[in-house]
Each structure stands twice: as C-alpha cells, then as structure tokens.
C-alpha cells in the first residue's frame, strides 16, 4: 500500500530484447542450423516479407526520382540526375511558405486541441461507476470512428450549409447572421480540427482507458485513507499512471506531424478556402498525380517525410532524456 507500487506499470510497457544478446554469441554455423530447422517459419513469413519489400521498400528506392528528371520511357533508372533542383524549385516557389504554414498550423491545432481530449475523456470515464452509463457513452462515442471520410465531409457540408444546415439554422434562431463556414479561409482549420475531435476522441481514448485499468487499486485505497478527494486522485494517481502511454502516443502523433488527414482535407477543399486549406500533401497529389510532375512532387513528398522523421527522432530522444517512455 505505498506509492512505489506505481513502478510496475511503467516496466510492463518497456519492450525488452533479451534474444538479441543471446544471438550475437552463437557461431554462424549454429545459426544456419537453427534457421534450417525452422524453415517452415520462414515460409510463413516469406509472402508478407515480399509484400513489404515490394509495396514499401521499392517505393523508398523509387524516391531517387526526387533527384532526377523523371522521363516515363526511360523509367526510374534511366532518367538523368538533376541533384537538388526540384527541392530548390519548391523552396523558391511562392506557394512554399503558404503550404508550410497551413500544414504546421493545422497540425499544431490538432496537437493542442485534439490530443489532450481523449486523455481527459478517459480519465473522466474511468470515474464513472454506473456500468450501463459507461457502456452507453463508450458505444456512442466510438461510433463516429467507423464513418468514412467521404461521409464525414458530406455531413460537414450538409450541416454547415449556409442556407439549410442545422448549425446555421441554430445561429439564426438566436438572431445571428448565417456563416458560410466552408467558403471562408478563416473557418477552415477550425472546422477541420473540430470535426476531427468529434470523430476520433472516443476511439482514441480506448488506449488510455486500457492503461487506466492497470493502475493498482491499492494506490487509490491508500489515497482515500489519507483523505484525498476524487479529483486529487485523478490528478495525482491516474494521470501519472498513464503518463508513459501518453508519452508514446505523443511521439507517434509527432511522427505523423505534417501528414495527418490530407485525404479529408482534399475533400473539404474548394476554391474559396484553398488559401487556408492547401497543405503539402494535397499539393503533392495535385502536382504529381493530376499534373504528372512526378519528380517535383516526389521531392516535395520527400521533404515532408524527412521533416516527420526528424521530428519523430527528436521527440524520441527528448522522451529518453526525460527518463520517460520512448519508442526505441
């Protein structure tokens, strides 16, 4: 019944690789022998391994066209090298700063507003003792996760329509002027992040709810004896207890920092909000696939990918330094 018991929660989450050490000491012949013994397992693995090589690693190899001038007849191999020309062209293009700004802003809003909500939601739900109410809330809030992006954007368009949407009807009911949400640059990011919150908060909370169940009830018991209120216990026992999971989710989120949600953004775009809604990924789609500037678009994609990767590594190192959870 003491606070030290919180430690095991953290240890469970930390992956360990004892088998790495075991392997390095063996001599090569024994390893081959062992591999031969488990040839069936390699057969099980082979199709999926091929899948990953073809559909994940070949495209990575294909990224070299970002440094070439892709000519369809010559293929990826035969096209001439041009170095960093495409990158330079992108950095100097008048669109560059707008794209970067939009991408960073949307994702910053996402991190500030959409990231903490599932955590708070899970902490609140964890305090609910009525099982049926809890089940009801869970069932309802998980449901939007299963709605497709197309349907979600369709719903946004219907509900936010200035002439017939229920949101504007509501605003008018209170004497306000109808707002053309989708036709304004200033509203776009709020609508995007707001709908994201509506769709994902419940589902994203699952992982925190799971983590909360592994917190030692003795801690709560001891805290109650010491006269801690519910709110204090949430703040000082539950929240620190799931901190490792929060850290991991944070790192993962950062790792997709610039990429998130371009398929939804693409659907939400129109001529009126394009100044605020064009992000790096949607621009890659337009310049690459619609306008066939493959090399240029691949360079932009690589630039974006590199930012993501660097941010991920940085966050991971940071987490390690803080003696918190890290991915690797």
């Amino acid at each position: 019944m003491n606070l030290e018991k919180a430690q095991p929660v953290q240890e469970i989450q930390t992956p360990s690789h004892p088998e790495i050490k075991a392997h390095t000491k063996r001599n090569p012949l024994a390893i081959f022998k062992k591999m031969g013994k488990s040839w069936e397992l390699y057969l099980f693995l082979l199709p999926t391994l091929l899948y990953f090589v073809i559909f994940k690693y070949v495209p990575m190899y294909g990224l070299q066209i970002a440094f070439k001038d892709f000519i369809a007849v010559d293929g990826i191999w035969g096209s001439p090298w041009v170095g960093f020309d495409h990158f330079q062209r992108f950095f100097q293009s008048y669109k560059f700063w707008d794209l970067l700004k939009n991408s960073l802003l949307i994702n910053t809003y996402q991190l500030i507003f959409a990231f903490p909500l599932p955590i708070i939601f899970a902490l609140m739900l964890n305090q609910v003792t009525h099982t049926r109410f809890k089940k009801l809330v869970q069932t309802v809030t998980y449901a939007p996760h299963f709605i497709s992006v197309v349907v979600l954007v369709g719903m946004i368009l219907l509900f936010l329509s200035p002439s017939s949407g229920f949101v504007n009807n509501f605003i008018q009911l209170f004497g306000g002027e109808p707002i053309y949400f989708m036709g304004s640059e200033s509203w776009f990011k709020s609508v995007y992040v707001g709908s994201e919150i509506w769709q994902t908060t419940g589902w994203s909370a699952i992982i925190y709810i799971a983590a909360l169940t592994s917190i030692d009830p003795n801690l709560h018991e001891a805290a109650i004896v010491d006269g801690a209120s519910k709110f204090q216990r949430v703040l000082h026992i539950d929240l620190p207890g799931i901190m490792p999971v929060i850290m991991i989710m944070w790192i993962l989120q950062i790792g997709h920092f610039v990429t998130l949600g371009y398929q939804k953004i693409l659907l939400m775009q129109n001529d009126l909000n394009i100044g605020s809604s064009e992000v790096i990924q949607t621009y890659v789609y337009k310049s690459g696939i619609l306008n066939s500037q493959f090399s240029y678009a691949a360079a932009i994609g690589l630039f974006e990918n590199a930012i993501n990767f660097i941010l991920l590594i940085m966050m991971n190192q940071f987490a390690k330094k803080m003696k918190q959870q890290s991915l690797f």
């Binding site: 591999m35 069936e40 899948y51 990953f52 294909g62 299963f146 109650i224 209120s229 519910k230 959870q325």
Partner: protein, 302 residues
Amino acid sequence: MTNLARVARTKNDKLFDFFNYGILTIILLIVLYPLYLIIISSISDPLAVTAGKVVFWPKGFTLKGYEILLENKDVWRGYRNSLLYVVLSVAIGVSLTISAGYALSRKELVGRNFFMFAIVFTMFFSGGLIPSYLLIQQLHMMNTIWAVVIPSAVSAYNLIVTRTFFQTSIPDELLEAAKIDGCSTTRFFFSIVLPLSMPIIAVMALFTAVGEWNSYFPALIYLQDQALYPLQLILRSILVASRDAAQVTDGAIDPDVIAEQQQYKELIKYSLIIVSSIPVLILYPFLQRYFVKGVMIGSIKG
C-alpha cells in the same frame, strides 16, 4: 472500487461526480445528435429539412430518398464493387498478417528482430505517394481492382498487434508438447494455433474490412474505369462534389428524372449516408468488443 467510493464520499466528491456525469452526458449528446439528425432527415420531407423544421423528430414522413437510391445503378454497382474489394482485401490481408504474425512471434525464428524492425520502420518512413503511384504503374496494376485491394491489405500496425497476440496467448509449453508428439510446425499452426486464434482473426478481418470499405483515395488515383468505382467514390461525387445522382455516369438521362432528383437532392444525400453506412452500422454493436480488443492488444507494446 464501488465499495471504496461509498465509504469516502465527501462533499467534494459529490460535486466532482455531478460535473463528471454532467459533462459526459453533454459529450454523449454532441456525438449522438448529428448521427440522429441524419437518420431523421433521411425520412423527412426535404422542404422541412431545408427550412430547419426537422430538429427532434421526422416531419412529413417519406421514403422517397431511399426509393430514388434503389433505382440508382451507380450506387448499386458501387456497393457490389466495395463488397468485392472488402472480401478480397480481407482474404489477402488476414492470411498474410496471421501467418507472418505467427512466424514473427516464434523465438526460434533467427533474425526476427531484424524483420520486425524492417516492418516497423515502414510505419515511420515511406516512399510516399508518387513512388507508390509509379510502382503501381510499373506493375501494370493501374485501373485494376488489385490496385485498390493489395497495397492496403497488410499494415505494419496489424502485424504488430497479431504478433503480440501470439506471443501472449500461445504458451511455449503447448509447442513443446506438440513437438514431442512429432507435430510439424505447419501442422501445429493449422491444427492448434489457428483454432486458438479466432479472436485475432476476427479483429484483423474487421480492421481490414472497415478500412477497405471506408477508403476512397486509392480508388481515386488508381481507377479510371467508372465500372470499377467503389461506393466511396460514388459517394464522393454525390455528397462532396454535389453532383446529381443521375449525372455520375454519362449517357442519356430522362429529364423527368433530373427534375425529380433536383427536388430531392438533399434528401438523397441523407439517405445515401445511411445506406452506405448500413453494413458497418449493423455490424458495429455486435463487434464493438472485438474492435476494442484489437486496440487493447496493440497497446501492450505501444
């Protein structure tokens, strides 16, 4: 927990509970209302919907929206295509994920950490849109159903979840016992592991199925032939591009049909949202615990 809570219920805690339940109820309503509104709008008089009179219950009951959709060939074909793509991607995805997940869970697989790293790495760094697009071109998969089925069938995340499941639920002793009885790895997998892994198969099938049913982007970039369009692309043209249902495909169109559809344009959208979500809506209440289980297994190792 309930016992403890009863013992130490101070005034503060009551206040906390009041706000906690209050806020959760508000959240519940915020999530529920848009879904409810779609349902009641889809069976209401379109004029009442546009005028904002449909708020709590349907007004001027009509099934016209559904009737028009029933006659729409594009929607039906999209539906059929989507079902086919779902079945194919589940078959491919699940068999690849389960077999590889199993192999990666076994300690005698030399180099499994290397394989695992190679797979996890793809979650954080990828070739991106353009090289993948060119790959599909080179493989001559452009404008075929395989372009929308295969590249998205297996995911690194699912593979990690599956491996974790096998690691935690198939004890080593079971394998040892089977080996002593002269059971081969393959036979062990098919006659002992598979029957024990129905939960994970269900989870993977569901994840893959929902993902495939809901995706539109691969179809948008890889398919040109409208006869191959999945439902989500049909939805996109009606819901998002706001094209009339009849104009999705070219060809001779009855002017009467157009006039009718103009009138029911909004109604069709509401009905279409319901129709396209039906498979998931029906499955969801029964399968919710499987989905949740999938996320939970995944959380064991980050």
